[in-house]
């Protein structure tokens, strides 16, 4: 997606009921874009939940990857999307603990939600992305390098990174593929994953900062970007150097 030139674009954000995805969806919608937001929950009143009329919500539970992909596809057809300018595949879950004690269903769920569903959604939306030379943005994690107490989570994010690497080459000239790896961010994700961080959370990036950094990376068509917790600091310095934030 080029600069926000005022033209309304079609945007998909998965996992938009909380955290970074929620902020991304609201931020794009508040600038007049048409946003399709997804999540695992059923919302009784999406307009009230997001507070903006141009966000449409559809339930697409990624624990059932093929069903989620079909739900997204059907929703885009209902909305009359003839193309997709930007898809941010952000939904994700984690489990933390000793990998030898990780239950089979936790392994399966993380792989389904974090890897299989993004793969299947990408395949399903491909024609719409090609129609606009759109951008496919995958949300990874700095944990993709490997992490002892987030072993399956780290594996799924490394899988996404590898998927992005090869698909980017395949899709060259048809759609742009990028991966963004947030560092620790102050959302509810860790609590949902069973990790109580206490004061350490204070060191984390704010979700707002993460959302802004992601949008910047999207604007710049970066093929790969890591958002570290000192992003804010670095951004300040790089602003002095590059004249932009």
């Amino acid at each position: 997606m080029a600069q926000d030139t005022g033209k309304a674009r079609n945007i998909l954000v998965t996992g938009a009921t909380d955290g970074i995805g929620f902020l991304l969806a609201k931020s794009y919608a508040s600038r007049g874009h048409r946003v399709l937001a997804t999540g695992r929950q059923t919302l009784s009143d999406d307009a009230a939940y997001f507070g903006l009329p141009n966000i449409t919500y559809v339930t697409a539970d990624q624990a059932f990857p093929a069903q989620a992909a079909h739900a997204v596809d059907a929703a885009m057809e209902r909305l009359g999307f003839e193309g997709l300018d930007l898809a941010i595949l952000n939904a994700g879950v984690g489990w933390t603990g000793d990998p030898a004690a990780e239950p089979a269903e936790q392994i399966a769920t993380q792989i389904d939600v974090n890897l299989s569903a993004p793969v299947m959604i990408s395949a399903t939306i491909a024609p719409l992305l090609f129609a606009r030379q759109g951008q496919l943005v995958l949300i990874g994690s700095t944990a993709a390098k490997g992490q002892a107490r987030f072993a399956t989570y780290a594996a799924t994010k490394a899988g996404l990174a590898g998927f992005a690497r090869s698909l980017r080459e395949e899709w060259q000239g048809r759609a742009h593929v990028q991966i963004i790896h947030p560092g620790p961010t102050r959302t509810a994700m860790h609590t949902k994953a069973g990790l109580n961080l206490g004061l350490a959370r204070m060191m984390f990036m704010s979700p707002k900062r993460a959302s802004k950094a992601i949008q910047k990376s999207v604007r710049n068509h970066e093929r790969q970007r890591k958002l570290s917790w000192f992003y804010g600091l670095r951004a300040l310095f790089s602003r002095a150097g590059e004249g932009r934030l």
Partner: protein
């Protein structure tokens, strides 16, 4: 020594199985097609035990783990794997589901189950089979590549916590192997003699496991690809696209 191999009926798994039996070890051979293995088990006079399990199915994997209740394993090689090659968006979703289950969910569930349920011997070792695509990318098989990257990072993540149970971890990054799998997925005209013999690779893997190596890039070509992928990651993936993706005709899954 008692060993377990998944995907033991064909290709690399079969070569590993035969090598281990030749060396006088006890082997549990896991696969979905077991007719051929049953014959081999009879010939082995008790050294080889066959367990039928579908690695695409978590219930089947859990049943397989339960059947190992009485065992203490010294060596486990999580070898079973499939591929899907072609244009990413043209391959049906069901093929991806199966690919990810067999290549990723299965080895993770097996590894966690084996160590968590105390089925590994102290000083035992688990071997994961990733791919050379981990260092160079693989346009034309982006989901296969994703599962192999995920395996490599899982193996790296669990190395330390598994050491507490005395279990070591080895990851293998093989390039093309001369098996039916490679035959099916390679572009037309690809040279067969550049592929590694399963027997030779099996020997290298068993040696690396014995020595407690963390990683194995088997052969000099794999070593060079690793270096090139490290130094020029994007260039190498582009090369892979030219060598493989641009030459694929049709989708295979």
């Amino acid at each position: 020594m008692k060993a377990l191999i998944t995907g033991a009926a064909n290709g690399l798994g079969r070569a590993l199985l035969e090598q281990l039996l030749d060396d006088g070890h006890e082997v549990i051979a896991v696969d979905i097609m077991t007719e051929d293995l049953d014959r081999l088990a009879v010939q082995s006079r008790g050294a080889c035990r066959v367990v039928m399990a579908d690695m695409a199915n978590v219930t089947s994997i859990e049943r397989c783990l339960r059947s190992l209740r009485e065992d203490k394993l010294d060596l486990v090689i999580l070898n079973a794997g499939i591929s899907a090659t072609g244009k990413f968006e043209e391959i049906p979703l069901g093929a991806y589901e199966r690919l990810i289950h067999i290549n990723l969910t299965a080895p993770l569930t097996m590894a966690a189950g084996l160590v968590g349920q105390g089925l590994m011997q102290r000083k035992g070792r688990i071997v994961f089979v990733s791919s050379l695509s981990h260092v160079v990318g693989y346009p034309g098989a982006s989901v296969y590549a994703a599962t192999k990257d995920a395996i490599a990072i899982y193996a790296r993540s669990i190395a330390k916590p598994f050491r507490k149970s005395g279990v070591g971890v080895t990851t293998v990054f093989p390039g093309p192997i001369r098996t039916e799998h490679a035959q099916r997925h390679a572009p037309k005209g690809a040279k067969e003699n550049k592929r590694m013999e399963p027997k030779e690779l099996a020997r290298m893997i068993l040696k690396a496991a014995k020595r407690g190596k963390k990683e194995l890039y088997p052969g000099s070509a794999a070593g060079m690809a690793r270096l090139a992928g490290y130094l020029f990651p994007n260039f190498m993936t582009r090369m892979m696209r030219r060598i493989i993706f641009d030459k694929l005709d049709g989708n295979t899954y």
